[in-house]
């Protein structure tokens, strides 16, 4: 039937129009456009890259923050609506390049760099220094009561627990399906699918007993939760690194040099502290980025 097809075409066309409208400003080529996914850490990292480019090169930088999930940012950069954003190596490897997850950080980064350059016209910058992996998280009271330190520990008592996950984690190749197979997880009921941000609140309030957060989230500490160790190394490494359009790299070597200064400078503990400051203490991310740059890269 052609009804469904023409509707999906119309939607495709509509979204192209929307992209063209909000992406219109970056047709001006000497303006560099930094994008971000729809969570605090991604916004902060985009702001950090933007400020570093501005203060080292003097080029004007436009921020397109909080765009949407991985796929939205990927569409935006491959279609030239943004020039760079921070991606995580394991996410690119499994979600964009569609490889089954593997554990070795260097192999993942090398494969990403090679394939992005060859097939997508995108260049990976050097990793910033931290790995933001999925954190299977429980309440501290439960961790102490049942002696939970690793995900294997949870597998023993999983039939007594209720799990709640965001939609992306439930859909991803490196998400719940594979995790359940790797650890033999069987919960009391199928996991509740809900908005990612609400899972933390539901866990803290006792509506669910286990969630998949991000290991650098400040809320883990703030809500007195415990992230369990991935003792079977199911999750691939998710090292954060800037991804840039090749055009940007060839036209503005100074931008690449400015971003290279950030390589390896941002630890997981530091990122957690920054997320906590932004999410829980409601500090302005631009101010946080400015302070971090002044302290670490004077």
């Amino acid at each position: 039937m052609t009804g469904g097809l023409s509707v999906s075409r119309t939607v495709g066309r509509l979204s192209a129009v929307v992209l063209a409208l909000f992406g219109g400003a970056c047709s001006h080529r000497d303006r560099i456009v930094v994008g971000a996914k729809n969570f605090t850490e991604s916004d902060f990292l985009a702001e950090l890259l933007a400020q570093q480019i501005e203060r080292r090169t003097g080029l004007p930088v436009e921020r397109r923050l909080h765009l949407g999930g991985t796929y939205v940012c990927h569409e935006a950069i491959t279609s030239g609506k943004i020039d760079l954003y921070v991606e995580y190596t394991g996410t690119a490897y499994t979600e964009i390049l569609k490889h089954p997850p593997i554990a070795d950080a260097d192999s993942v980064y090398r494969a990403d760099s090679l394939e992005y350059a060859k097939t997508l016209g995108l260049t990976w910058g050097r990793p910033l220094g931290f790995n933001n992996t999925f954190a299977i998280t429980v309440r501290r009271a439960d961790a102490e009561k049942y002696g939970l330190r690793t995900i294997s520990d949870v597998a023993r008592i999983a039939p007594r627990l209720r799990a709640g996950f965001g939609y992306e984690f439930l859909q991803r190749a490196d998400g719940f399906g594979g995790l359940a197979r790797a650890y033999g997880l069987r919960f009391a009921a199928p996991p509740t699918a809900m908005d990612l941000g609400l899972t933390y609140r539901a866990l803290a309030q006792g509506n669910v007993d286990l969630i998949a957060g991000n290991s650098t989230d400040g809320t883990i500490q703030a809500l007195d939760l415990v992230a369990l160790e991935d003792d079977r190394h199911y999750f691939p490494p998710y090292d954060a690194a800037p991804v840039m359009r090749k055009e940007l790299v060839t036209r503005h070597r100074e931008v690449v040099r400015a971003l290279a200064e950030l390589a390896g400078k941002l630890s997981a503990a530091e990122m957690r502290r920054l997320n906590l400051a932004a999410d829980v203490e409601h500090r302005d991310i631009a101010a946080l980025a400015r302070e971090w740059l002044a302290k670490n890269l004077p």
């Binding site: 039937m1 052609t2 469904g4 097809l5 509707v7 999906s8 939607v11 495709g12 979204s15 949407g68 999930g69 796929y71 939205v72 569409e75 709640g164 965001g166 939609y167 992306e168 439930l170 859909q171 509740t192 699918a193 809900m194 908005d195 941000g197 609400l198 609140r201 539901a202 309030q205 509506n207 669910v208």
Partner: protein, 209 residues
Amino acid sequence: MNLLRFYGDHAREAFGLLGQHLVLVGASTLLAVLIGVPLGVLLTRRPAWRGPVLGLANVFQTIPSLALFGFLIPLPFLGGIGARTAIVALVVYALLPIVRNTYVGISGVDPAVREAGRGMGMTDGQLLTMVEIPLGLGVIFAGVRVATVVGVGTATIAAAIGAGGLGVYIFRGVSTVDDTLILAGALPAAILALIADGLLGLIERRLAR
């Protein structure tokens, strides 16, 4: 085409979600009528409460759904995760049109008719059930119709709090930029809204006669 193939492969799941969606809309609209109509009647008897009550119902409409869920999760009885919380949120969103139309419907009854009723010795209760509600029913029902049609769309947010419904496909689709999945949730919701509007419109025209 993709969409049809998708429904072919996921027929059971799709019907399950459609069923959940109907339950969410039905239960929340029913509750909103049970709360909203008496509240609207009360406003016609206590005109001073009109401003604050309608103002509050108005404010409820402007609360973003995720924020509302955030507030509801910690509450006992009303909160938590799942269908109950979603229904509470949907009732909150459905109240305004029902309360307002009940108030407007009843205060719009011709004062001469009301006086005639009083003159015949009707009590306030008899006046309400035998004169005011029958005459205002068309307008009251129009409010219920608006609440239902809007509710069909709003109920897609129930998927954010683990309550299922057609929003599950929309949320999944948005998180993976899959147009087919988004349409798989949005299209039946839109058709459902049109059907509900048509059916309730028919009833409304009968009542208005």
